[in-house]
Subunit: 349 residues, 3 copies
């Protein structure tokens, strides 16, 4: 990571409301408050770390507006509306040096079928495969060892990282980002039990990914049994998530790592699923619902719900029940005491 | 998905018991009852969706024998024994156009070691690797970017999708299907703790996959510490499943997504594991057992069991205990009332 | 697996304390006690299988010192301090024939960018990609279809199995082993919610893997938002594990399959995480802690803890609470009996 920004350059990126203190250092790195040293930029993005600010040796610190402490000598504070977003603006600049825009063209080691259509403004990196009838739009980057199946369509300005896979007939709209090893369009898991064997239900649908979707490493999305599996605009999916056939995911959802969504289930817009949550098939999770980590969703969920636990309950009720479960030893003792007072049941706890 | 079938062609595929109504449309797509329009084929595969039939605009609908409603004008009903299986017959036809049988031969961009043996009737697609001593049987298709390790054997009529990996010495029998990114033969996770470090136990066994097995995207099967990890005939494994070293899986099992099976555990035939279930090592799950989603199996399970929860319990008992847990707030209040009536314990709930 | 060892060769590898009985067989395979036959080596590695020893037909058995039974005719017992480790010594010899050390050099089908630096003692196998500015140390083996991103560094004597991926700027120290399909350096999952959309927080840090680390198939490690995600020396990570951005993992940890670790969480040294456990972000798990399978860690954990359950509790307490939960039906009956004796509450269970 090559970083070299003057304090004024940082200021032009983060547009501070207030600037306090000063430093002679050039910013050459970014670090957490506790590990930063001279030349580092740091930030207070989570109130949990507030007590680390006075001890931090960072040269420049991004702080929420109204932060009360003072900078140390040689230290510069920028007060901003949202320190995390402000840092993101700096990182966006760094990102451009980390992943410079590749030159368009098809690498000589890639295999692009004669019947495929690759924009002259797209980049197809080394050892990629683009099958017959597939298309790749302008500004899109297939980094290396990417697979695009027959008749699949990749829109404009997508980034498909190494080893990502898009199978036949699947559709990616614009600015979609697939992390390494992500699979779009594996076969749905559908069988009928006939005469002692699982007879395959062919999976002839596809997967459609709307614009501005990002999908994590190793995540798998199954093609529909027929018609489509769908991911709506702006939704972000983390690593190692399973999305089964005919699932429909709305716009601007957040799906954390290792979630599993069973077949034909629908997420409406703005749903948030915590890590390792599991959803049965054929249910609908209403708009804006938040699901806790490791929760098990076994029924339709009303819009705006906050649920937790397996099987899931409204969040506050689930918290209360867990607290009561932890008091079961006490509870059994109290029951026993009542029984003893009433003449005893003869049962011990 | 190119679809174009006359109603009579559909009839010849699904062999209806009864045909009611008629349509002038050619079937050009398949859709769910609620989203289908003219030219679409639909089906009633799950009683949950029964009320959608009268409102459906599909031109042709596959229905269970004895369905009582009448078709709309221009709509055709086919009554069949199993609408889902009947639809599968249509999809099988569509599948042949989606994935036409590839011509045999080795793509010029593939690397096949001189000591490998590839049938003249097999297809090795672009950028595949077949190491020394490996063999690939007739009718098998290594689609693209597939890896076959030293001495591994792939039987006849297998389909290895892009990015699937079979490491050294592993064996696939016939008609095995590996979804994209599936790994057969990663190293087992075995260490002994010696002098403050985890000393590796070399994993020198292999994985053997019987005929008619299908394995999902991103699923990993570890090679045995010695001898073999085994998957029995006709078993189907979904995406992102972990199968540890020396696991033995019987015939015709169904293993849903994100299940984890620890080392040396045995599944007998016809076991069904719900999504995200976890199994400890060195236990046996008896024939025909059904395990609920997210369940935790920590002991041997008798054949024919239905279990749920972590740690697992018989299904009906688990359901009852969950229901009682949800009544804990009431329960504590009742306990408190009894204590108050008896003179009070001084504890509040 | 080619095996052919005389009993004396086995003895020289396992260094027995005591040798009892004798066999004329050459050891040609390794098998479990119950499935072994003449010519097989077996071992008693887990007391659970003790009763299988007298019935075993193995020609040579590795047993713990002080084992009381006698060998059958034609059977040889070796008593050793640790039968599992002793077996490992034999398997190490077998491993060398399974995966012979490859000749150094770059396969003609690999793509190594002109600005990359590959040691003359490294092996870059077929269809690998090494981007500009990356380096690969002596004795390291990129087996096939491996990706090394711009500026990434791979140390000495590493083994990167087929389809493993190391993205830009990530660092592997020496003797690191990546299983197939493992991803080092996917993008961290970080967004800020702004005006109804999830705005991306660029992830410009890297992943650093210390020496002697092994990482399982399909496991994903996200690059840091800034600075680094870190895995300490000697730690072993199983398959399909998710390690989020800015996680710090100590030395000699064991992380079982399908564990998920959320962002900025720290594991101190010698932590053991059971399969499918999940950890929230921004917490610290103290040195030597053991976490049960499927547990949910939602807070800091003191060093040396043993915890289980979701949300996690001290192990013995969690076991007790689970046992009491299973007695809830009885508990409700006893409550009802007290109520009836006191005049009844009118509620039924």
């Amino acid at each position: 990571m090559q970083v070299s920004f003057s304090p004024d350059e940082i200021a032009s990126m983060v547009q501070p409301r207030l600037r306090r203190g000063s430093t002679a250092e050039i910013v050459r790195g970014i670090a957490g408050l506790d590990t930063a040293g001279p030349g580092d930029l740091s930030f207070l993005g989570n109130a949990k770390y507030r007590q680390q600010v006075p001890k931090s040796r960072a040269s420049v610190i991004l702080l929420p507006a109204g932060y009360e402490g003072d900078p140390a000598p040689g230290q510069l504070f920028f007060e901003v509306d949202n320190p995390s977003l402000a840092l993101a603006r700096v990182c966006t600049r760094i990102e451009q040096t980390l992943w410079p825009r590749p030159a368009p063209g098809i690498h000589r080691s890639a295999f692009v079928a004669p019947g495929a259509s690759v924009s002259s403004k797209a980049t197809v990196g080394p050892l990629c495969v683009v099958e017959d009838g597939a298309s790749v739009g302008g500004g899109s980057h297939l980094q290396a060892q990417v697979f695009i199946g027959r008749g699949a369509r990749v829109g404009a300005d997508c980034w498909l990282m190494p080893g990502s896979i898009v199978t036949a007939e699947c559709i990616l709209h614009d600015r979609v980002r697939l992390n390494p090893g992500c699979v779009v369009g594996s076969e749905g898991f559908g069988y009928e039990f006939v005469a002692g064997r699982h007879e395959k239900l062919p999976q002839v649908g596809f997967v459609e990914i709307a614009s501005d979707v990002e999908i994590g490493a190793g995540t798998t999305l199954d093609r529909a049994r027929f018609s489509r599996t769908y991911v709506g605009e702006g939704t972000k999916i983390d690593n190692l998530v399973q999305v089964a056939h005919n699932v429909v995911i709305g716009r601007h959802c957040l799906i954390c790592a290792q979630v599993g969504i069973s077949g034909s289930t629908t997420l409406e817009d703005y749903v948030v699923l915590g890590g390792q949550a599991g959803l049965v098939g054929h249910v609908t999770v209403g708009k804006g619902t938040k699901v806790g980590a490791q929760a098990g969703i076994n029924r339709d969920i009303e819009p705006g719900s906050v649920v937790n636990g397996t099987p899931c309950l409204p969040y506050m009720l689930e918290r209360r029940i867990v607290a009561l479960q932890h008091r079961l030893p006490e509870f059994f003792q109290r029951l026993k005491a009542l029984e003893d007072a009433a003449g005893g049941s003869g049962k011990s706890v």
